[in-house]
Symmetry: C2
Subunit: 291 residues, 2 copies
């Protein structure tokens, strides 16, 4: 499918990510329909010309017309929605999403979805600790990674459609991972980091610590402001991969604890050197040089 100005794109869920998708498509000259159960969200999106048409329920005509449906919902609501409304889909429709975990969801939905429609998973690795369409901003993607997560069931056509979405929304990089590699990676770079930030935020009850805090601490705990409904669900859907990553991390912290107890200065310095060398790989300026 070549996405052009006549392609009917329907976004379901206009939160921070769905809203930012809508803004990005609209800015690029595409017409977007949207469904969100919150009337204020739809009014806001219409009044601000973020979408072309909107509905607060699963509007049958909108669904029937859509060539591409993009779901930006809590995972379990996404799954239920497809189960319930899939018979309204146009034959050949492509479904994609923005969900933060994949393994448990993708094969499940691909298993029960009608044969003449296709679901291809994708994950925009961008976000914001604030919620709702009023905070949406298409520019959060410009610096971010768009990961397409195909399975053996997906076609070149669907993979290409996702690539075009990534390009239209101006993601800095488009990558491809299997659901299993995706979930392991996300368990490490995203979920483990949220676990750490939360634990750091709740482990020490000393009052007035905020008076003495430098920027390192603020940076490390920015993501400790966390949407508990979304993230508790994502954690549990990716439980095994996340527990594995937590184990790797806590074993490493224990090694450092032991070196401290033993005053093993050389061991600590060696770990610091390895940390510094590896962190350099993650600097954006460094990546741009090597891309």
């Amino acid at each position: 499918m070549k996405i052009d100005k006549d392609t009917k794109i329907l976004i379901i869920g206009l939160g921070i990510i769905g809203g930012s998708y809508a803004k990005g498509f609209t800015k690029a000259g595409y017409k977007i329909d949207a469904i969100d159960t919150d009337p204020d969200t739809i009014s806001y999106a219409l009044e601000n010309n973020i979408i072309d048409k909107g509905s607060i329920k699963a509007d049958r005509k909108m669904i029937e017309e859509a060539d591409i449906l993009i779901f930006a919902l809590y995972p379990h609501i996404f799954r239920e929605w497809i189960e319930k409304n899939q018979w309204y889909l146009k034959s050949g429709a492509i479904i994609t999403d923005v969900t933060g975990v994949k393994g448990c969801l993708v094969r499940d939905i691909q298993g029960f979805l009608r044969d003449d429609c296709e679901y291809i998973a994708a994950h925009p690795m961008a976000g914001c600790e604030k919620l709702g369409i009023t905070h949406s901003n298409e520019e959060i993607f410009y610096d971010a990674n768009y990961i397409v997560v195909p399975t053996e069931k997906n076609t070149e056509n669907a993979i290409n459609t996702c690539r075009q979405i990534g390009e239209i929304l101006k993601f800095a990089r488009i990558s491809y991972l299997s659901p299993e590699d995706h979930d392991e990676m996300i368990g490490f770079v995203s979920q483990l980091t949220h676990c750490i930030a939360m634990s750091l935020m709740t482990c020490n009850h000393t009052e007035k610590l905020e008076d003495y805090t430098g920027d390192s601490f603020r940076d490390l705990t920015r993501i400790a402001r966390i949407d508990e409904t979304m993230w508790s669900e994502l954690f549990l859907l990716n439980k095994d991969a996340l527990l594995h990553q937590m184990k790797l991390f806590t074993m490493e912290i224990s090694k450092l604890e032991r070196m401290l107890m033993e005053a093993d200065k050389e061991g600590i310095k060696d770990m610091m050197r390895r940390s510094t060398a590896r962190r350099k790989l993650f600097d954006k300026e460094n990546q741009e040089e090597t891309v």
Copy 2:
């Protein structure tokens, strides 16, 4: 002591912090002398008008003239320097520093220092992962916290002198803590966060992770680029407080691990709510409102 344009201020150590101090004082109209063993550092500081006079050794005349001496050296070098050169100090001279740990150092130096001079500890909670005078920048203090760390041996005069230094360098906030409270706080907000960032950086050896990384991960690991000589020394000087904070943190991570294993969604959500509520206290906009 009222710091005025005739006050002789000597900075020993012109690295990232000493250099930023020198720039801040010079910009505010004060004349700064400096000692640094690196000839390039002194040349750079003179050529760029960051200091008025410089020396690459413990220049006896400079030391004899100084009313205030500010040490920005590795802790053990600082201690040795005072031990060796204290007999050159002017009677009534005030010594202060920028060292990141206090307990073990302050009482030790106060114990052997001449009775007619005074050492008062201070800690500018600002920094940069880059090193050296070429990266120094007095603006890193404008947003930061300056902590004065007096003991029962310190006089009002010395505490006031430090307060003036904090004001001249335009720190956002000046606070006062005992050495023990300082070290416990710093074990948590600074050293533990560095331990976490390092462990995160070295615990997972998957290649190409940097290709999939979002900003959360970059924020959490920015401080994983760490000067191993400085930080291994700071960690070991504050070993007990740091080990205590690491224990609090790893116990909290273990609780979260257990809740995940047991799929205790309500428990996880409750922890997320506590994390979110506490993190809000640390937002700068929030602090400004309440100050």
